[in-house]
Each structure stands twice: as structure tokens, then as C-alpha cells.
């Protein structure tokens, strides 16, 4: 794997743009670090950090000039791998029209190791098995993934427990570690097309000093996890805790609002909606994000399989951390902590799991 050093990210952004990618990276919008379209390095959140707690997210500002000095953004890669809504098929006057789903060429700059792990989970869900989703495959192929190794994990992070971070080891085209004094970026190449982009921009080979400094960043980050989960035997003890009194306790705090599942980078559940137009001549079937926390999600023949909030929360947590293994051979959780931060009432899955155990 080639390892080089860049003095600035500007040439990288320019090279990605000139290679036909829309560059989506971190930028400050509406009081949060969002993944949004960026056109230059000046759009990156220099000196901006974040404080993440259960149900609480705030930005901080400093003058260290670091552009990746924050933890997981509210946005993962999910919006790009699985758009919130897509039209699947259109029937016009009884003739079926296949709808070509968009697969925009997007470079996601700033994905974390947890996000890459989540993309790998989604790859198994959508592209694995006997029926790979062709639209997903085309969207994935069109994505260029630039990872950033976490330097400052958030208060709700637990990727070390889930074995997914904080250092990105696979699944990226390029992986950046931001280094201080002097400010520079160590870049690892993870794919052929990653190498082609690096070849387009001014760089010099990394020295052992650079490489040691980058390793220190990841080592320090690993020691600063805000949360942890003991996953030992979780496939057994979590499903076995079906009658734990803790479920009623957490259900009393759970809004069934779906936020945890919406921000989760691996939650993939969707529903299908059929609509007609006024003339009755055109019918459209579309797929949109849904959640196991909605009542309709478990509606079968007019009644609801999981009518209580307790049943829905238990189903979600048990699936995410335990029965996901049975289904897909991995955990459904990558330890990004988004479900904790973005739960309006601050339900903390790590705390719930500890209590249930």
C-alpha cells in the first residue's frame, strides 16, 4: 500500500472534481458538521470540534486549524448507498416502464472507520446472497470512498468494542490521517483508482516520522472511546434476555420516533408504496426508508405484530447486536454512536445492553 504525504487537501479535491466526482465532505451547516457538497478545502470545518452525549450534540470552536477534529457526523454514507426514496417501477397504460435509478459519481470525503464497516455491512445485505440488488451495485461502484482516521472520538463512540475502528484498514479508495506540527495529511492508497487520483496531485513519500505520527493518532483515539460494550457471548445472552424487566424501562423512555434507525448507517429497512395518479393511468411503486419503530412496519393482514414500544425496541436492539449475526454473519452495529447522540431522549444502547446483561 502506497503511503504519501500531502501538504493540503485542495489538490485532492480538485483532482476528484476533475475526475468527474461530486465531492461530499464535512462542512458546518445548521449547527452541525454535515456531509455536504464541498468545492474547496476552505469548506472544511477548520478548528471545529463536537461534543456528543446521549441526546445532545454541540459544536465547539478552536484555533488548532485541524479540519477533521471531530467525531461521527450525523450523516453516514447511507444516503448515498441507499437513497431515502427511489422510484422502482412505473406502469403507464398497463405497460411497465423500468425506472433507471440514479447512480451519481460521488466522492465521500471524511468517512470514518465505522462508516466503512457500515458500508461493508450494507454490501452483505444488498449485494451478498443470491439476489444482489443491481441498483445498489451501480451506486456503490459510483462512490469513491475517502476515509479519515479518527483523531478525536466522540463521547458516544465505541468502535473499539465493535472491532471496527478507529483506524480504517480496508474498504477505502484513500485513507487520510491528519497530522499536526507541521499540518499535513498522510494518505494511504486502498485501491487502483485511489492510486490514480494520488498520481494526479503533488505529494511526497511518507517518512517513518509521518507513519509513526499517524499510528500514534489512531492509538490515542483508540484509548479515548466514550463508550464500550461487552460483546462476549452477546449472540446468546441478548436473545435469551427476552423477558428482562429492562425492556419496559427503556420503552418508557423510547419515543418510537425512528431517529436511531434513521441515523444508523446499517439500518436498511424500507417500505414500498404504490401510488396512482389522478387519471388512474399511471401507477408508481417507490421504496422509501422505513423503520422497525413504525407501527405499519410490522403490519400483517391488518394487525400489528409488534404493537408495543417495548416489543419494537427489543426487536431492534436484539436484531442489531445479536440476531444480525444469524442473518448476515456480522454484528449490525459498528459502534459509531449515532443512535445514542441522536436519540431525542438520550437512550444509550451501551447502557441498555449493560443493564440487560
Amino acid at each position: 500500500m502506497d503511503v504519501v504525504v500531502l501538504q493540503s487537501l485542495e489538490p485532492l479535491i480538485e483532482a476528484l472534481t476533475s475526475s468527474g466526482y461530486t465531492v461530499v465532505g464535512p462542512r458546518v451547516e445548521d449547527g452541525a458538521i454535515r456531509m455536504a457538497e464541498i468545492s474547496s478545502g476552505a469548506d472544511l470545518p477548520a478548528g471545529v470540534g463536537d461534543v456528543q452525549k446521549p441526546g445532545r450534540y454541540r459544536l465547539t470552536s478552536g484555533d488548532d486549524g485541524m479540519v477533521f477534529g471531530f467525531a461521527a457526523s450525523p450523516d453516514s454514507a447511507k444516503r448515498y448507498t441507499q437513497p431515502p426514496r427511489q422510484t422502482l417501477v412505473r406502469v403507464r397504460d398497463e405497460a411497465i416502464e423500468e425506472v433507471e435509478q440514479e447512480a451519481p459519481r460521488v466522492a465521500l470525503l471524511g468517512l470514518r472507520a465505522c462508516d466503512l464497516a457500515a458500508v461493508a455491512v450494507q454490501d452483505r445485505v444488498f449485494a451478498g446472497g443470491r439476489h444482489p440488488d443491481p441498483a445498489y451495485l451501480r451506486r456503490r461502484e459510483a462512490l469513491f470512498l475517502v476515509a479519515v482516521n479518527c483523531a478525536v472520538p466522540g463521547g458516544t463512540c465505541f468502535c473499539v468494542s465493535m472491532g471496527t475502528g478507529p483506524k480504517a484498514v480496508a474498504g477505502f479508495d484513500l485513507a487520510i490521517t491528519e497530522l499536526a506540527s507541521p499540518h499535513r495529511f498522510l494518505v494511504e492508497t486502498g485501491s487502483e483508482r485511489g492510486g490514480e487520483i494520488v498520481a494526479l496531485i503533488p505529494h511526497h513519500p511518507a517518512t517513518s516520522v509521518d507513519i509513526d505520527a499517524a499510528e500514534e493518532v489512531s492509538r490515542t483515539a483508540a484509548s479515548r472511546m466514550g463508550r464500550q460494550v461487552d460483546t462476549d457471548g452477546i449472540q446468546e445472552w441478548l436473545p435469551a434476555a427476552h423477558d428482562s424487566p429492562r425492556w419496559a424501562d427503556v420503552a418508557s423512555r423510547c419515543l418510537s420516533c425512528t431517529n436511531c434507525t434513521m441515523v444508523c448507517p446499517t439500518c436498511f429497512c424500507s417500505t414500498v408504496e404504490d401510488v396512482t395518479d389522478l387519471t388512474g393511468q399511471v401507477t408508481e411503486r417507490s421504496e422509501r426508508w422505513d423503520s422497525c419503530f413504525t407501527l405499519d412496519f410490522s403490519e400483517v393482514s391488518g394487525s400489528h405484530v409488534r404493537s408495543s414500544g417495548l416489543a419494537r425496541y427489543r426487536q431492534w436492539l436484539t436484531h442489531k447486536f445479536a440476531t444480525w449475526y444469524d442473518q448476515f454473519g456480522t454484528s449490525g452495529c459498528v459502534g459509531c454512536g449515532r443512535c445514542i447522540t441522536w436519540c431525542p431522549t438520550g437512550i444509550d444502547v451501551t447502557e441498555e445492553l449493560a443493564c440487560i446483561r
Partner: protein, 263 residues
């Protein structure tokens, strides 16, 4: 009248105690209004035309709540002449903002407001249409959302169930890409207990949700109240956020009563 015209379903739009905003949503359909008018016969819609086509009507859209003895009688007539009756908006579906008078003595209000309160014939309570007659579908919102209105009419024409989910505003917020104003800004927001339909309009402009579409299918207002209190909201303010357009809908009523200490 051509044969095609004869076969078009007849649409009627009725007004009870309301502000007309939901009826206006139909006129606001603009691009879809002409296709709609060629698909259905708009037979009774005083907001748009004083021409009255005879009933019975295939689909009646009813705006407004029932607040007078005359209206209680009139809604029974509307039901009799309507094959399908769909309520539109918070007034018709939940009693509306005028149901705030249910929390006090309406006779006292009348005495304060009118020079001759004895001329005023009003019911004790402002009630939704469903409290008086059977309703086929209730479309929420203050005002209703025009896409949802068109969906309900279209679904009626196709004889299918309307795609009007009962989940929270949060689903629409996340799909739209809004930041959560409650978590990121500490802004009080009723989105987690409010039914979607508006497209998460207020949070898209960094405002908390005002609850215009009423409670979700399974609202946990007690949990939200606990969080809003942690954000510094006082109990009187909590009472106020639930007592707006859907104040007497049971989950919002319970939520405000809980904040008042009555629950």
C-alpha cells in the same frame, strides 16, 4: 351533459367551524387543479363557486368542527348525501384550535365577547366530525398538506387505501436531511410525537415542530415531556405547546394534563 361527464364522481366540499385554510389547499393545488376538475365533477364547493350541483355526492371533503346545534344537524345531512366522507384538517379531525374553549366555560366566553350573549347558540364543546357521524378517512394537519389531499382523492378514485403514514415527523425530517433541532440546538420540538405529513416543514427552517398534524400512531408524550423539561421548558409552557390545533386529541390532552399535574 355528455356521457363522460355523467360518469365522473361528484365531489363536494363542506365547511363547518373553521378558517377555510384547508379548503383553500384544494384551490392551491394549481397544477393539479385542472386535471382534478376533469376527473371529478366539483359539484358543491362554495369557496370556489356558488353553483350548487345536486347530491348525492361520491366524495365529501369536510372542513371544520361541530360547535353549534345547527351544525350538528347539518353534518348528519352531509353524511346522508355522501357515499364517502373524508374530514380535512385539524378542526374536522380533532376539534381544531377553537376546542381550546373546551378547557373553560363557553358561556363565560360568550358573556365577555358578545353584547347580547343570549343571541348565541353554541354547544359546550368543539368536537370533531367523527364525534357526530361515521367518517371514512381523517386527513390531519393545520392546514392539510396538498400532496396528501391529492393522494387521498386519488386513492378514493382508485378504490385503494391512501398512502398517509401514521409515523412521526422525524421520519420525514431524516429523509429530507434536516438536522435534529432538538438534539443539535436544544430547540423544543414536538416532531417525535407528531404525525408526519407536512414534509418536516418547520425543522427544515430550524424551528421545532408545532404539532399541527396531531399525535402519531403511538406517541410517548410522557418521555418527550421529560426531555423537554430537561431542556428547560416550564410546565406552563409544556401545557401551551400541546394546546394548539389538536388540544383535545386524547394523547395531546393527556400530555398537557400531565404537565399541569392532573394526570
Amino acid at each position: 351533459m355528455s356521457a363522460a361527464e355523467k360518469s365522473r364522481p361528484k365531489l363536494a366540499v363542506w365547511k363547518f367551524a373553521s378558517c377555510d385554510g384547508c379548503q383553500l389547499t384544494l384551490l392551491d393545488c394549481e397544477d393539479e387543479l385542472l386535471p382534478l376538475a376533469s376527473t371529478v365533477e366539483i359539484a358543491y364547493f362554495l369557496e370556489a363557486s356558488s353553483a350548487i350541483g345536486p347530491g348525492p355526492y361520491d366524495l365529501s371533503l369536510v372542513e371544520g368542527s361541530i360547535t353549534t346545534p345547527q351544525d350538528a344537524e347539518r353534518i348528519r345531512h352531509v353524511r346522508r348525501v355522501s357515499r364517502r366522507l373524508v374530514t380535512i384538517g385539524a378542526c374536522a379531525t380533532a376539534g381544531g384550535i377553537q376546542a381550546l374553549r373546551d378547557f373553560a366555560d363557553v358561556r363565560e366566553f360568550a358573556a365577555v365577547v358578545y353584547a347580547r350573549p343570549d343571541y348565541i347558540a353554541t354547544l359546550e364543546r368543539s368536537k370533531p366530525i367523527s364525534a357526530h357521524v361515521p367518517v371514512d378517512f381523517e386527513l390531519r394537519g393545520c392546514p392539510i398538506d396538498k400532496r396528501q389531499l391529492l393522494e387521498v382523492i386519488t386513492a378514493f378514485l382508485a378504490g385503494r387505501r391512501p398512502v398517509v403514514p401514521g409515523h412521526s415527523v422525524c421520519v420525514e425530517c431524516k429523509a429530507r436531511g434536516n438536522i435534529c433541532v432538538l438534539v443539535a440546538h436544544g430547540t423544543p420540538c414536538l416532531g417525535p410525537v407528531t404525525q408526519a405529513g407536512c414534509g418536516a416543514l418547520c425543522p427544515a427552517f430550524n424551528r421545532g415542530c408545532y404539532g399541527c398534524f396531531g399525535p402519531t400512531e403511538t406517541p410517548n408524550t410522557r418521555a418527550l415531556n421529560a426531555q423537554l423539561r430537561r431542556l428547560g421548558m416550564s410546565d406552563p409552557d409544556l401545557v401551551r405547546v400541546y394546546r394548539t390545533f389538536n388540544a383535545t386529541e386524547e394523547p395531546f390532552l393527556q400530555a398537557s394534563e400531565e404537565a399541569e399535574g392532573d394526570a
